[in-house]
């Protein structure tokens, strides 16, 4: 029987504010999984902390809701334990690019086959409206009443600069495109970044749905854009200050971390017999004679 949207729903009531951008991201993720025909039990959503991190509460899959900033580390551990799973890491911009920045950079380098969905609302939602690393320069928040004096993190450029093989930006209100992006990201062999503009309707009165509608450049509408060209991708991101949607960069030659490590089994580690072959064991012990 084919999987349907109903298979990915849970009985949990949402804790998100009505109108929150995260609803769109959740729906797009569920739809992408349905369209790819992946069974719910083969999906694991690993999330961080924040409003966005609650996404795992609302999707019927194996869900690991971790601690602030660490979703990527857990997602990689899980994927390496069982490569037969579709592993989605998810969280907010604060979660990923402030406290989780270290893990972000290294997950990009490592290229474990996971999809990372960031719900970027350019503010801290759950802690009620402080600046985030993607907040605009000059933006007034509870923690920056005189305006944000720090520069913003350019997470998409960082990803490309660090060798990430799949970099995309979606918009929660553009469901159709977001579903396609997530599908491709899941299919991409290696780490795939899906940043999503996902407005916080409660605390961010500047970067609203309307703001994004006015300012976003849709790469799908430009037939000349070559998403296999890293330099073009960087240039586009600089020109638009990362206010783009679509797949920004895709490396057709990406090789998973799993496939680069000698001796890593083709099937999931969980599904193997863990007893050590006595002959192998003897060799290991004999080193100490």
């Amino acid at each position: 029987m084919a999987v349907t949207m109903a298979d990915f729903r849970t009985s949990e009531k949402s804790w998100w504010c009505p109108g929150c951008g995260d609803f769109g991201v959740l729906a797009a993720l569920q739809k992408a999984l349905v369209e790819l025909g992946i069974e719910p039990e083969k999906v694991a959503v690993v999330s961080g902390i924040g409003c966005s991190g609650k996404i795992g509460n609302y999707i019927n899959s194996y869900n690991l809701h971790t601690v602030h900033g660490r979703a990527l580390a857990a997602a990689q551990g899980l994927k390496l334990a069982n490569r037969e799973l579709t592993v989605i890491a998810a969280g907010g911009d604060g979660d990923g690019f402030a406290i989780g920045m270290g893990h972000y950079m290294h997950a990009l380098r490592r290229n474990v086959d996971i999809t990372y969905i960031v719900m970027d609302n350019m503010i801290y939602g759950l802690t009620k409206g402080q600046t985030s690393p993607t907040s605009e320069h000059g933006f007034q928040t509870k923690s920056t009443p005189a305006g944000n004096v720090e520069r913003t993190v350019n997470q998409l450029q960082l990803a490309i600069a660090s060798g990430c093989g799949f970099v995309a930006n979606g918009f929660s209100a553009n469901q159709k495109q977001l579903v396609e992006i997530i599908k491709r990201a899941i299919q991409h062999p290696g780490f795939a970044l899906v940043n999503t503009y996902s407005p916080c309707v409660t605390f961010n009165k500047q970067n609203t749905f309307d703001f994004f509608k006015q300012h976003l450049t849709n790469l799908d509408e430009d037939p000349t854009y070559d998403r296999h060209d890293r330099f073009a991708a960087m240039k586009k991101l600089m020109e638009t200050e990362e206010l783009v949607t679509g797949i920004v960069y895709e490396d057709p030659n990406s090789v998973r971390y799993e496939d680069r490590v000698a001796g890593y089994p083709a099937e999931g580690i969980v599904n193997r017999d863990w007893s050590v072959d006595p002959a192998v064991w003897q060799k290991l012990v004999d080193q100490y004679k």
Binding site: E41, Y62, A73, A74, G77, L80
Partner: protein
């Protein structure tokens, strides 16, 4: 005839002494002796003093020697630092190049040899170390053939000429001693000829992990834990596993939690600063009831403390660290040998109790070589893999969607309910660090909170493992409580204390640090007194023991925290003080000033047959 001898070599760090000592230890072990080796080193790579000490015995030894019989020194600084630890009449063999001077009044024979000149004549100054090995073999009556054979094994890949050069150097060293000092010999009794293993705790932990089904290692380099990962990196391709050098300790343990949630066996290894960083995720594992194993090779703290020095001061951090009440299990091996089965067992405990299991190793255990009986590394003797309560996939599949209660009220006697593993149909659930109900859904309902907290804590009320082991006289007046590296010295001190005081003394090895096995301790200590021997400044285990309600008037502390290992003498002195009524005895450092026979304890500890 000597039952044991103690060999020591001192010189400059980075001059190849490390591998010289390793060769010496391995050859002594292959000759059939029991070996206990230790070293002094600093947190730098080249320059500065370092010394390596090896106790070779026909009996099992697990503690530093009382004195040194043969001291080889390559610079004056090594004489200044090491010579006071020699037995009376000991041999001090020095390079004549630096015009060595013994401290005044030292009862030892100073012999000089042109190590440097001989090496230069061979055209390679590194050969100095092989000349030293040859000379040492001659003094101790160890067959040079063993050394030569080992050189072939170890350096064979560098070509015949190189090995021939090493052989020449060894022979020259050997012959020099035979020709110049034909009557000076330290005659070692013959060993039983049994073949044994020689390894460090970090070797043993890696082996134990492999036997225990660990196939994923996530870690970040730190002294003295790094070798565990390095060993696993080499071994995993042979068994189908993966070792990832993560970006930090936070990532390392969280990746383990991810892998544990996925149903695989994952481990991380670290030391103090790493344990501090891991606390948040140790709590996550407790809260989500996810199995995870952490090896902590403790070293001097707090902060960067003394990264190359011995300490056992992370007990409270391991047992109680982090926010909230997060249950975990802390195990402590008493020797390198025990680390093999104990590490394997840790994975079974984690899978059965659904909580983090920490292994309290320490720097000396982690890095120093000890003889291991082959039985301890026999696969057939190691714990069999036991996955603990896992839901039946068929029952789950029949259950229907969105129904499975991961944190079900149907629990086993440990308070643990079966978990589903990702991939199992209808086993989907939410594992969250937030307080949750039976399906993992977040709730702050007060009754649920109390139920869930009790459920998590119940699993550590009785941990099914061999929590203690007792040695020595039954119904003792004084029971030494020891764990990790301190156990060896305590066991050696036990008969000496009895002989010197006429009191009955026992040693209780604590293998389960947390939850504190108070009932077992009470049973063995009985009406006697407990003396907790630990390498920290505040008496952390004693504190924990008293915290469980154990009669504080029965607990005394023997503490050493200068970075060095407990010696037998420290323990004898401490025990005598406590028997005389002291509540606490501090070893103030170095054992300086006491020469190996000025003290009757040391004379008793020196094993002459």
């Amino acid at each position: 005839m000597l039952k044991e001898v103690c060999w020591q070599i001192g010189g400059e760090q980075g001059s190849g002494l490390d591998s010289t000592a390793e060769v010496f230890n391995t050859v002594a072990s292959r000759a059939g002796y029991y070996v206990y080796a230790y070293k002094t080193f600093a947190s730098r790579i080249k320059g500065g003093h370092t010394d390596f000490t090896t106790r070779i015995s026909v009996e099992r030894v697990l503690a530093p020697a009382a004195g040194v019989n043969l001291l080889v020194v390559l610079d004056q600084e090594s004489i200044n630092l090491c010579a006071r630890n020699v037995y009376p009449g000991a041999i001090v063999l020095a390079d004549e190049a630096f015009d060595p001077q013994l401290p005044e009044g030292l009862d030892a024979k100073l012999l000089t040899m042109p190590f440097n000149k001989m090496a230069l004549a061979l055209g390679n100054t590194l050969m100095k170390n092989n000349i030293v090995l040859g000379a040492s073999a001659a003094f101790l009556g160890l067959p040079l053939e063993h050394f030569k054979k080992y050189a072939v094994r170890r350096w064979g890949n560098k070509g015949e000429d190189f090995v021939a050069l090493i052989h020449t150097a060894m022979e020259q060293g050997y012959n020099h001693v035979v020709e110049n000092w034909p009557d000076l010999r330290l005659e070692l009794a013959q060993p039983d000829g049994q073949e044994r293993l020689l390894m460090t705790g970090n070797d043993a932990a890696a082996l134990g992990a492999l036997a225990g089904g660990c196939r994923l290692m996530f870690s970040y380099p730190i002294t003295p834990a790094s070798e565990i990962a390095e060993n696993l990196v080499k071994a995993f391709p042979k068994v189908g596993g993966i070792a990832v050098q993560m970006e930090d300790e936070l990532g390392s343990i969280v990746a383990c939690v991810g892998a544990g949630f996925g149903g695989a066996r994952a481990m991380t290894a670290t030391s103090g600063p790493g344990i501090s960083l891991m606390q948040e995720a140790i709590g996550l594992a407790s809260m989500t009831e996810t199995p995870v194993v952490v090896v902590n090779t403790q070293r001097g703290g707090p902060s960067t403390g003394m990264p190359t020095k011995q300490e056992q001061s992370d007990l409270l951090a391991m047992a109680y660290g982090g926010h909230g009440d997060g249950p975990r299990i802390v195990l402590a091996p008493g020797s390198v040998e025990e680390l093999i089965p104990l590490t394997a067992e840790a994975f079974n405990l984690a899978d059965n109790y659904h909580c983090p299991v920490l292994i309290a190793s320490d720097l000396a255990l982690a890095l120093f070589q000890q003889t291991v009986e082959p039985d301890a590394a026999d696969l057939a003797n190691l714990p069999k893999i036991d996955r603990g309560p896992i839901a039946d996939p068929e029952q789950l599949a029949a259950l229907g969607r969105d129904i499975f209660e991961r944190y079900s009220k149907q629990v086993n006697e440990n308070g643990v309910s079966a978990r589903s593993l990702p991939g199992m149909k209808n086993g989907q659930f939410l594992a969250t660090g937030a307080e949750h109900g039976p399906m993992g859904k977040v709730t702050e309902n007060p009754a649920n909170r109390v139920y869930m907290m009790n459920r998590r804590l119940r699993r550590i009320t009785k941990v099914n493992t061999e929590a203690v082991r007792y040695f020595g006289s039954p119904n003792a007046d004084l029971v030494l409580l020891a764990f990790g590296t301190t156990l060896g010295a305590a066991k050696e001190a036990q008969p000496i204390i009895e002989q010197m005081t006429g009191k009955k003394v026992g040693v209780l090895q604590i293998r389960l640090i947390y939850p504190v096995p108070t009932a077992e301790i009470a049973r063995y200590v009985g009406d006697g007194k407990a003396l907790v021997v630990e390498s920290n400044a505040t008496g952390q285990f004693a504190f924990m023991l008293k915290g469980t309600g154990y009669d504080a008037s029965k607990v005394a502390s023997l503490l050493r925290y200068d970075g060095n290992l407990f010696t037998v003498k420290d323990i004898v002195d401490g025990a005598r003080a406590v028997l005389a009524g002291e509540a606490q005895y501090l070893v103030t450092g170095g054992g300086q000033g006491v020469r190996p026979t000025d003290d009757p304890t040391i004379a008793l500890a020196a094993k002459e047959a």
